[in-house]
């Protein structure tokens, strides 16, 4: 038995148990509608969490993503409003822009030996500020291509809809898994997260890896911005405030260590779905006041983390016991 995958297994088990509990209380939770919604509603979060996972694995953190998503939406909406470019062209421009933005942050982090927390915090202010400067109003997107994308879905039995953006999210997670676990770049990311000095001595190209990691995260944030703009059909500079923290929480619930170097991309998907499940459960319940909503979310987060820790301890001591 491989001990390093234990947090992942623990996460999956807890998620399944939690889903079962929800289902017992509200049988409608198992409908394809809810499952479809879970994927659609959390698509943007899942995509941005893939980028965040890689950043966290490398031992860093990216606080700018929430703002970058908002910026992306405004950028797309304004471009489509003020120019006659095709959305796909705008998407390409946007991805280039956010990737470059991420790379620039990575460059600062590496070259100036500044903590990622602070550089990306400044990036967060900057991206949100840039969104304000593009447009304060929320800008609707009315391009026909957008309508096609919004209306593309597969109707599952039971009237649930598997939408384009949900599928896109799953594909992104898959791509993330390949990058993290199957490429030399991924190995470098894990190495960097395990310890900078040792990684350098082992021959990790620290600068290149750092820049690439943040560029990837920027790219994912841009992609997530695209998905979000499809999801809401508009661009709004105040959107997705605090999403970076939700994404980080999802990554952590997914079993990735915040200190870097350990974790699985697939766990992040489970983490995202767990966050979605908590949301859905609270809406289904529908009796919580505004403040109890916040408290309960916090408590559920804590319970998940404690269960994960407990399960981990238990199985580890089992394993250790099995040896003697």
């Amino acid at each position: 038995m491989n001990t390093r995958a234990l947090p992942l297994y623990a996460t999956i088990v807890i998620f399944l148990i939690a889903y079962a509990i929800c289902w017992l209380q509200f049988p409608a939770m198992l409908s394809t509608r809810v499952i479809g919604n879970l994927l659609t509603d959390n698509a943007y979060l899942g995509i941005v969490a893939v980028g965040m996972t890689l950043v966290i694995l490398s031992g860093g953190i990216d606080l700018s993503v929430g703002s970058v998503i908002a910026f992306s939406g405004v950028f797309i909406a304004v471009m489509l409003r003020d120019s006659s470019l095709h959305p796909l062209v705008v998407f390409a421009m946007l991805l280039a822009l956010t990737t470059a933005f991420g790379a620039a942050m990575g460059f600062l982090i590496h070259r100036l030996a500044m903590p990622a927390f602070i550089v990306t915090l400044a990036g967060m202010f900057l991206a949100r500020g840039a969104a304000y400067m593009l447009s304060i109003d929320s800008v609707p997107i009315t391009h026909p291509f957008y309508e096609t994308m919004q209306d593309t879905y597969w109707l599952m039995p039971g009237k649930g809809r598997l939408r384009l953006i949900g599928v896109l999210m799953l594909l992104t997670v898959l791509a993330g898994m390949v990058i993290a676990h199957k490429t030399r770049f991924g190995a470098s990311v894990y190495a960097l997260g395990g310890g900078e000095a040792a990684a350098r001595l082992m021959g990790v190209r620290q600068g290149r890896t750092t820049v690439l990691v943040y560029a990837f995260s920027g790219c994912m944030a841009g992609l997530s911005g695209i998905v979000f703009s499809i999801y809401t059909g508009s661009g709004y500079s105040l959107a997705t405030v605090g999403t970076e923290l939700t994404a980080i929480a999802a990554v952590v619930i997914g079993g990735t260590l915040l200190t870097g170097g350990a974790g699985y991309m697939f766990g992040t998907l489970i983490g995202v779905l767990t966050m979605g499940l908590i949301q859905t459960y609270i809406v289904f319940d529908g009796t919580l006041s505004s403040w109890w909503t916040k408290i309960v979310i916090g408590i559920l987060l804590l319970v998940f983390i404690l269960l994960q820790k407990g399960l981990l301890k238990l199985s580890q001591s089992r394993l250790a016991g099995g040896v003697s």
């Binding site: 409908s31 509608r33 809401t232 709004y236 105040l238």
Partner: protein, 297 residues
């Protein structure tokens, strides 16, 4: 009759919002409606997800207080396909109006206009340098209330907005920004009036003015929007001059419309506008305070 209604509320970012939630719950209880409440914590994505969940649950109607005007088309279509009527509360959306049953709310631009008109009348022909406390940058009320106010003072060259900054709709920011306005405008002697996008910021600003040794309501005229209890107290003390009411009871008209619709399919009007009533020091502020103070503001 045991109908189930889902209420997708924005959040609880202000006292006014809390009052709206309280009143909605009260109204639902009085009418025997089973209300499912969801707090989206100021996030559109949470509201969309909540509406989808309501649809999946098969509620009989959905109340939506949209956090922002854009981006509701696809989720409203989904509700329509499931034949669930949606009523918008207090803010508008820019979707086609056959996607929802009706919208209950006030006209935010109009609120700004009412406030502006009051000020225009109050100062007459005198020179007036106005400072403005904006709401959260980018939020619909901030944009619309600013527009409405500017519309109202347009053409009156004696009125001029000299400083305008965001106070984030909060008391603390209102006070801090007002302090810097006072600082920058000759200790406040050059300011003739303050226009605040909500009462909370005005209340904060009033304290700043007092601490600067000036008399709010006298040295500096104060007009704001919302009509929350605390501003009435200030008016009673002569420290504020006028406020424009935005009633938190949006649910009452909404349930009326829904009940008619459920009963015999009556289609209400597409926009049920609540009154933007102006209150000044003459309108028995203490009495108004008493009637409102227990509404959960």
């Amino acid at each position: 009759e045991g109908e189930t209604v889902g209420f997708a509320q924005i959040g609880s970012e202000s006292g006014w919002r809390a009052a709206e939630t309280t009143l909605t719950k009260q109204q639902a209880e009085e009418r025997g409606i089973d209300l499912r409440f969801s707090d989206a914590q100021q996030k559109q994505e949470n509201q969309i997800a909540a509406i989808r969940s309501f649809v999946a649950q098969g509620v009989d109607a959905i109340l939506l207080a949209p956090v922002v005007a854009t981006g509701w088309d696809s989720v409203l279509e989904e509700a329509q396909e499931a034949e669930i009527p949606v009523v918008l509360l207090d803010r508008q959306v820019d979707s086609s109006d056959d996607l929802y049953l009706t919208a209950v709310g006030s006209d935010l631009v109009h609120e700004g206009e009412v406030a502006g008109e009051w000020l225009v009348n109050a100062v007459g022909d005198e020179e007036c340098r106005i400072v403005e406390l904006q709401g959260t940058t980018g939020s619909t009320p901030a944009i619309d209330r600013k527009t409405g106010f500017e519309n109202a003072i347009e053409g009156h060259d004696n009125l001029e907005i000299v400083r305008s900054q965001t106070g984030d709709f909060t008391r603390a920011q209102g006070k801090e920004v007002m302090e810097s306005f006072l600082q920058a405008e000759n200790g406040g002697k050059d300011i003739c009036a303050l226009y605040a996008h909500n009462d909370d910021m005005a209340v904060g600003a009033i304290q700043a003015i007092k601490e600067a040794g000036l008399a709010p309501g006298d040295d500096i005229l104060i007009v704001s929007i919302d009509a929350v209890p605390d501003i009435f107290k200030a008016m009673a003390d002569g420290e504020a001059n006028a406020t424009v009411e935005l009633t938190p009871n949006m649910a009452g008209p909404a349930f009326d419309a829904l009940e008619a619709y459920w009963a015999d399919g009556t289609m209400p009007e597409k926009f049920i506008q609540t009154e933007s009533k102006l209150y000044t020091q003459e309108n028995d502020p203490m009495g108004e305070y008493e009637t409102r103070k227990d509404l959960g503001y």
